[in-house]
Structures are given as structure tokens and as C-alpha cells.
Symmetry: C3
Subunit: 116 residues, 3 copies
């Protein structure tokens, strides 16, 4: 058993479907390893976390992945520029001050980077 | 002479032209170094490997690059979801069970990541 | 205070706005750290550096970021394939023979990779 730390970066709304499929495939393909997965959304991609959005179709998949340990993160700079208040964000999402700072720090901690 | 390991990730069909140009330029620009290059395709990008596809125009370039040591990889999850059987894939391509697992493992082995 | 090295890669013209916002947010969010930031443009993205382009709206932001230490780099392979002479490039931009070689070497020197 090996330990892997993986950061997925998303900044385009239309990439969520493939990103969530990637995360699911990674969990399935490394079930015998110790996996730390974090999904960092910035730019327009944070709209996916909006509780009021119709497009928000894979909430169940996000909840399932979150229960398996996947961390979902939103960039607060992006939320602010889109006028999205934290109260409107799916509760399982963690808000960080800056998405790019999170991406830099995680990679410095040994996370590998994947951009679907 | 230094040794470099480079992983190119592609998940969009329309990025193949720039990806193959990137790989060619990398080989030309580091001809005095020891280079290990791997191209991992997942999502819709694996359709490029389809022997029956008309769009498949740069087969000669892929063969040339492969002869220079470039490894081309297809994600089997993607092939299955697109109904593409392994027999329809260009023979020089190596099929792995999961593209994202391949990307994570290679980076953990010291490959740097580039997403054209 | 920690030291971080960050490489931003851009190969699509329409990503410049989000890239420059990312760089600005990174500088603002890590003002107490020692940051080395390099932006490497290849493919069509190098057209943004063209002095004659109307689209080139954020020159002031680039100059501001450059004064804060951000290094802007253009791939000469891309310039040549687009027929863009070096004299037409914004003077603060550094031209390297190959963008992908730059990306590989910087990552090998410890730069983390972000592709907006």
C-alpha cells in the first residue's frame, strides 16, 4: 500500500462532469492505496457549488465522493467576484481565501496536480 | 546531459494538434538530454487513437514520435465509455486500466506534468 | 516566511484574463512569502504579447505584475509559426527558444505548475 496525494484543479463549469468521473475512476483504481484527494474550484467553476443552480445535477455524486474522503474546496476570490455568498454554497464545500494559494501550497506539500 | 521525465495529459480531441507539436518541439529542444515522454489520453481524446476515424490525420507524426521513444497511452475507462474496442486502437498505443491512475503514478515517479 | 516557485502555463488566448487574475490573487494572498512567478505562453497565447494587437487590453496589469517580479515568457517556436517577429513583442517579455522546454526545466527546478 502506497500513499498518494492528488489535487484536481477546475476553473471551467463545463468540466465538472469529466472531473467527477476522473475522481471516481481514481478512487476505484487505487482502492488498495491511501489516497488524499482535493478538488479546488476557482473562476466560474465555483458556480457549480451554488445551491440555487439548476445545472447542479451531480450533488449526489459529490456527496458520495465526499463520504469517501474527497475534499471539495471553493476559492473565495471567485465567490466574491461572482456575488455568491457562502451561505448559498453546498455545506460540504470548504471555502479558502484564494484558490491559487491553495493549489500552490498543496503542491508544495507533495500533492500531484491534474487539470481535467 | 540531464534526465527528464515528462507526462503530457490530453482529454480534449481538438488539442491533439498542439500536443503533438509540443512533443516535437520538446524532442528538438532537448536532443542532448535523456528524455522520457509519455502521452496519456483519457475522456473524448482517446477517439484520436481510433483506426476507423477520418480525423485521424497525424498517424505518421505519431509513428515518428513513437520511434523516437514517445509512449502513447489510452485510458481503458474512456475506451469503454465510448464503446471503443481495443482492437480498433492504433497498435502502438498502450492501454492502461485508468488514465488518472497512470497520471498520478507517473508524477509520483518524478514525471513533470504538462496539459496542452 | 516560505519560498515558493510557481509556473503558469497558457496556450489559449481567451485564458489571459483569468490567468492575470490568478497571478494577482496569488501575489495578494502570499505577500508575506518569497514568491517566484513565471508565466510561460506558447501556442496562440503568444499573440497577447503582440504590440499591434487591439485585444491587448491589460498591458497596464502586465506592467504592474512585472514590476512586482512576475516574469513573462514567450515561446519562440510559437512566435515563428505565427509570423510574429520579436520586435513586435512587448519589451518586458522574455523570449525563450521553446516554451515546453522552459516548462520542463522550471518544474525540474522545483516550480509548481498551474494551467488556468
Amino acid at each position: 500500500m502506497s500513499e498518494y496525494k492528488v489535487l484536481f484543479h477546475i476553473d471551467e463549469l463545463n468540466k465538472w462532469k469529466i472531473l467527477l468521473a476522473n475522481v471516481s475512476n481514481l478512487l476505484a483504481g487505487m482502492e488498495h492505496d491511501e489516497l488524499h484527494i482535493e478538488v479546488v474550484a476557482n473562476g466560474e467553476a465555483v458556480q457549480y457549488y451554488d445551491l440555487n443552480q439548476e445545472l447542479y445535477a451531480n450533488k449526489n455524486l459529490m456527496i458520495t465522493l465526499h463520504k469517501k474522503g474527497v475534499k471539495f474546496v471553493a476559492c473565495n476570490n471567485a465567490l466574491k467576484s461572482l456575488g455568491l455568498e457562502k451561505e448559498r454554497i453546498i455545506p460540504l464545500v470548504e471555502v479558502v481565501p484564494s484558490g491559487v494559494v491553495e493549489i500552490v501550497k498543496r503542491q508544495s506539500e507533495g500533492f500531484v496536480y491534474i487539470k481535467p
